[in-house]
Symmetry: C2
Subunit: 305 residues, 2 copies
DNA sequence: ATGAAAGCGCTAACAA
DNA sequence: TTGTTAGCGCTTTCAT
């Protein structure tokens, strides 16, 4: 067939508004060219960049990504996967945190885990242990001895146990473990404020606090303001994630930067690998994080350490 | 067939791990039970709640929603719709802002517009005119006469022209039009800060500023802080949207609250209506907004109005 | 090189 | 009521 003919056909097709039916194609080929990304809370600004990263990587490979918001209901997370599995609408899953599926239930399904790790699955996660440790080391270097922890109220999430352990280990190294206090909170400004109020209640309160998340840190700012405590004069705070709002807090928040976009890209690439070779070995990647020092940390008041 | 038999079959199906293939079903029935929601910037925290609202409404009706991030590229927005149209993967579209498709190109496709309106399409939008007017009326009531506007750099977006007109009309009503100054900015803290610096540059600067968006307002806080201007002592600011971070700014931001979640719910419901009856009349709904007064607005300094 | 036909897994219409 | 069959729109294989 000549090039001219083919062009003519193409033009005619365009003129008639012909579009290949992707559903029919999927049925025939068994591939949907789409993946599902399940997150626990679309409302958390951490996920915007992550979704964008995953979306870009997917687009590059000719895939679409469908976002599922499990609204913090772990069962939902699984229900969705269950519903979509084998239905042919997606070719694989990107699962953010939540309890990982058991190996057998996931049999044969390409799945990559984000911010969790389990045997048999490919995964990407942040080096949260290191991040949290770096945060307390920073406070220790400034001279703080009473270091508190505003923790996420999600003891089952690996990423948060890692942060807890990072704090614990760094504190132990510094011989400061006994003076640590921790309060747990849901990840909202309001809940963070309340937990912050508890953490800062009495005079023996910490002079430095590391937070599992910048949202919690925002809540702590609220609590400190209410108690008339200046940051960083009376209280040093370090966050985690480096969300957009970290820079707009007063003072700007010292935090542990996590590259959410890269997390998304890497997760998709890992999934592409699995989809291409379902029998291959699972891979685990750990992504570095970095402390970025801004204005919310300083040495404690002379008499106050 | 007896109930017992049917149960037995069901049990057997479950045991064998049978799941109906949704793709085959879609091909047969011509319905994908999914809709596409296209937004210009997933990274903007406004969309989290909106997506959640749309997702909930969709789930209730047995639909899934696929999120598409057009990354502020209007052409992309259209490319996506184009790509998905007729492909059978989605049954309808929820389009956030961007230039609306022409009537003929959208022929027969169920589409609802969010934050835009055009003939022939169902749509939901905020009453942004009223919101912006309420914001300036609030400043006028406090005694401000030099009222500035930190505008979104998106002159083509209906929602922002509405805000501009709301400000304009309210200012005209108060006879304060001549003293108005406006600066445009991309919707990021960094860009907002720069535009804010321009707005506050010289001594004839506004004593009150309304912002098209809370992110812009955050940028303005940065600019004011840099210039040593106290909020609200030297500068009153009012935002728009009531994003989560509004409450964590210091001082907490007076802003125009928009219910993003409801926007999502309404948009989906409108779409469901269109999908059920494609020939029906298009409907336009306008959603009220409300000024919420917090700490960022106060009367101007005595000598300064 | 081109064309015909089978079939992916369902559902809906029809026959028995 | 129960069972059978055609066909959704593609891709792929096979025969011409």
């Amino acid at each position: 067939m000549s090039v001219a003919t083919s062009d003519a056909v193409r033009a005619a097709a365009a003129a008639l508004g012909y579009r290949p039916n992707a559903v029919a194609r999927s049925l025939k080929t068994g591939a949907a060219r789409a993946v599902c990304l399940a997150v626990p809370d679309v409302t958390n600004p951490f996920f915007g960049p992550m979704l964008r990263g995953a979306g870009r990587a997917a687009a590059r490979a000719g895939y679409a990504v469908a976002l599922v918001d499990s609204e913090n209901a772990d069962t939902w997370h699984h229900a969705t996967v269950q519903a979509l599995r084998g239905a042919g609408t997606v070719d694989g899953f990107l699962l953010f945190a939540g309890s990982p599926p058991t190996r057998e239930r996931a049999a044969g399904e390409p799945i990559v885990l984000i911010e969790t790790e389990t045997r048999g699955f490919s995964s990407v996660r942040l080096d949260s242990h290191r991040g949290a440790a770096a945060a307390v080391e920073h406070l220790v270097a400034l001279g703080h001895t009473r270091i508190g922890h505003l923790a996420a109220d999600a003891p089952a999430e690996q990423t948060f146990v890692l942060r807890g352990r990072g704090r614990h280990d760094a504190l132990a190294d510094a011989g400061l473990l006994s003076d640590a206090r921790v309060e747990a909170s849901a990840i909202t400004f309001a809940a963070g404020r309340e937990a912050g109020l508890r953490l800062l209640a009495d005079p023996g309160r910490p002079t430095g606090v590391i937070c599992d998340d910048d949202i919690l840190a925002g809540g702590l700012y609220l609590a400190a303001r209410e108690l008339g405590l200046g940051i960083p004069a009376d209280l040093s705070v370090v966050g985690f994630d480096d969300l957009a709002h970290a820079a707009v807090l007063a003072p700007p928040l010292t935090t542990v930067r996590a590259d959410a976009g890269l997390l998304g890209v890497t997760a998709f690439d890992l999934l592409a690998e699995r989809m291409a070779d379902p029998t291959g070995r699972a891979r685990r990647v750990v992504q570095p994080v970095a402390l970025v020092e801004r204005g919310s940390t300083a040495p404690p008041r002379p008499g106050d350490s």
